[in-house]
């Protein structure tokens, strides 16, 4: 495949499988075994406008829901507003170059366009409800992986893998009716 064509077909950061075609058989088998054990499916890690470090924030004592406020009590988890970032960083390391980008956005009243890491494509026509899963006691890391120890947030599971959703629904005796999610 020509490089230009590949660039058109795959989003930046995506690693199409055909690149690995020339690998020796041993690596292929190892890869298959890994694939069978963990469903890491070559998920692209999107580039973020600001080098945000999840681990540092968690180590500083913040919880996931401190910033993703809707995750527990809302249908959508949501992203923190620029004001809420700036609110803390006015006191905390305001001179850090990445933090200054936040402060600048706050001054200019511009939103920070964070890239979504875990994506269910619109074409799936799925309406995911965060708080329903929080009620059922599903932890963040079940779907999002251990973001608390990530420097750059990357997808760990393919959240658009319906078989995995249904499996969990059945194990936990949640409804597996189509209309539960697709509508």
């Amino acid at each position: 495949m020509a490089e230009a064509q590949r660039r058109r077909l795959y989003p930046p950061g995506a690693r199409p499988d055909c690149r690995c075609a020339g690998l020796p058989a041993g690596i292929w088998i190892l890869g298959l075994a890994l694939f069978a054990c963990g469903p890491t499916q070559n998920l692209p890690t999107p580039e973020q406008p600001i080098a945000y470090d999840h681990q540092v924030h968690i180590e500083a004592g913040l919880e996931c829901v401190r910033c993703h406020r809707g995750a527990e009590e809302g249908v959508h988890a949501g992203m923190p507003s620029v004001q809420s970032c700036a609110g803390c960083h006015r006191r905390e390391i305001p001179d850090h170059p990445e933090v200054q980008k936040v402060m600048l956005a706050n001054e200019n009243r511009e939103p920070i366009l964070w890239a979504k890491v875990n994506v269910i494509p619109d074409s799936a026509m799925v309406h995911f409800n965060h708080r329903a899963h929080a009620r059922a006691g599903i932890e963040c890391l079940t779907c999002h992986g251990d973001v608390a120890s990530m420097t750059v947030a990357e997808p760990v599971r393919n959240v658009a893998d319906m078989g995995w959703c249904v499996e969990c629904h059945r194990e936990n005796e949640a409804s597996d009716d189509c209309l539960e999610c697709h509508r």
Binding site: S123, N129, A132, D177, C178, H182, R183
Partner: protein, 233 residues
């Protein structure tokens, strides 16, 4: 178990079509334009049928809102080759857009002709896209669609009740058409709950099913004080 149902009082219906507008707004139903409408491709999930009776000057107009009857024995279901439409445990005739391959057999087999087909991709040029309901998917071209009994509102009602740690109460879930009806001609709720408004309406001596002879066992009940005649051909 819940069995969602609707009752429509035809004696209250004035044919104002507020329900039709509310339905389109709630469910992101695309408008197809004059030309396509002329081809019979208008996409209302709910339509008001209008019947004229008598001879001038002694005439009367009668209105009947017709939507998916959410049949208990739905003729649309067994003809779908990909199980995109099925009877869900709560009495809804479910439509799974992502499964639909657009054979249109279901619409062909529906005696109420309430299923509509997306002949083209929906277009919501700005600023119309700002008014789309985020809880409802915009259906792509080649997919069949129909009234869902506002399933997004049903799910939201159940979610709200669960969040407050209680059961879903009668009146928690209101469909868009019901909410917008100025004469309150529509009741919606659980038909398995004998105390619900819709059950009480359904037990009225005025109650009847549309095309009842077909034994489709509809989840929609109509109420009319006068004998409802099918229009003469």
């Amino acid at each position: 178990m819940t069995r969602w149902g609707m009752a429509i009082d035809l004696d209250r219906c004035t044919g104002c079509e507020a329900c039709v507008v509310a339905c389109a707004a709630e469910n992101n139903i695309q408008t197809v334009g004059e030309e396509q409408a002329r081809e019979g491709r208008a996409m209302h999930w709910l339509r008001i049928e209008r019947y004229y009776e008598g001879e001038f000057p002694d005439v009367r107009t009668r209105f009947m809102p017709v939507l998916c009857q959410q049949c208990g024995a739905a003729p649309c279901e067994p003809v779908c080759p990909v199980y995109a439409t099925y009877r869900n445990p709560e009495g809804l005739n479910a439509m799974v857009y992502s499964r639909c391959i657009g054979t249109r057999f279901c619409a062909n087999n529906c005696p109420y002709t309430v299923r509509v087909f997306n002949w083209f991709d929906a277009e919501f040029p700005a600023p119309l896209d700002s008014q789309l309901n985020p809880d409802v998917s915009v259906r792509p071209g080649g997919v069949m669609e129909k009234c869902t009994f506002c399933v997004q509102r049903i799910q939201a009602g159940k979610d709200e009740a669960a969040q407050e740690e209680r059961e879903v109460a009668d009146g928690d879930v209101k469909t868009a058409c019901q909410q917008s009806c100025p004469t309150k001609a529509i009741a919606f709720g659980d038909l398995d709950d004998p105390d619900s408004e819709v059950s009480r309406w359904a037990e009225s001596p005025r109650a009847f099913s549309l095309l009842g002879d077909l034994d489709t066992r509809p989840g929609v009940v109509y109420l009319s004080g006068t004998e409802w005649r099918e229009p003469a051909e």
